[in-house]
């Protein structure tokens, strides 16, 4: 099964786990699997059904935004990383 690495600020919502095993065939499936296991994480990843501004999902070293976005296919060996970008004004 694929894994998702959780950044430190979001680990309070994954019982402190740095890595979470997820199921599914796409990035969207994987994120659904992640928040199904850890429902407290959902409002911090999503806002009105869309990923929050700071959330970037990488497949290895590739930003999935520049692949097929949520429909980017994954395999059982895939390693996804949630990496924040920090912005403001």
């Amino acid at each position: 099964m694929a894994t998702v690495r959780i950044p430190t600020p979001l680990r309070p919502y994954t019982a402190g786990n740095e890595y979470v095993t997820v199921s599914g065939a796409t990035v969207a499936d994987a994120l659904d699997s992640l928040v199904e296991q850890y429902p407290d994480l959902k409002p911090h990843l999503f806002n009105e059904g869309k990923l929050r501004s700071f959330v970037n999902v990488f497949l290895g070293e590739e930003d999935t935004r520049f692949l097929d976005g949520p429909q980017t296919p994954i395999t059982a060996d895939s390693k996804l990383l949630i990496i924040p970008s920090i912005a403001g004004g």
Partner: protein, 146 residues
Amino acid sequence: MKVTVSAANLRAIEAHGESTYPNEGAGFLLGRQEGDILRIEGVLPIVNKWETGEQYHRYVLTPADYSRAEIEAMKREVDVVGVFHSHPDHVAEPSIWDRDWAVPNMSYFISSIRNGHAADTFSWRLREDHSGFDSEPIEVLNQEAS
């Protein structure tokens, strides 16, 4: 959450904001949480990646910046625990833009830079419902007598 920071690190944060004036400057806070106290033990100034003409009121630190900060934190055996940025000629309070991009469970130091000089710095933490920020008290350690 109470935040502690050395006078030297606080000066480094404010000096970065002064150096980028009239644009916004930003970077990461490294440290560790011990109970209800967050101890800032290092600062990592980062080059503002927002487009040049808009940096007077915007900043961005990229995922690559975040990953590098994590690696540096690991080397120092601490965590990435927050972010600092400056508000040129504006109050040291979060904007709506700050709120919309904020990451939970991090401290946000904001320094007001007036005419190129740091006026004050406050720390803020995103509410669990993302509706806004609450202020956090900052205790400055090793303050030299003036």
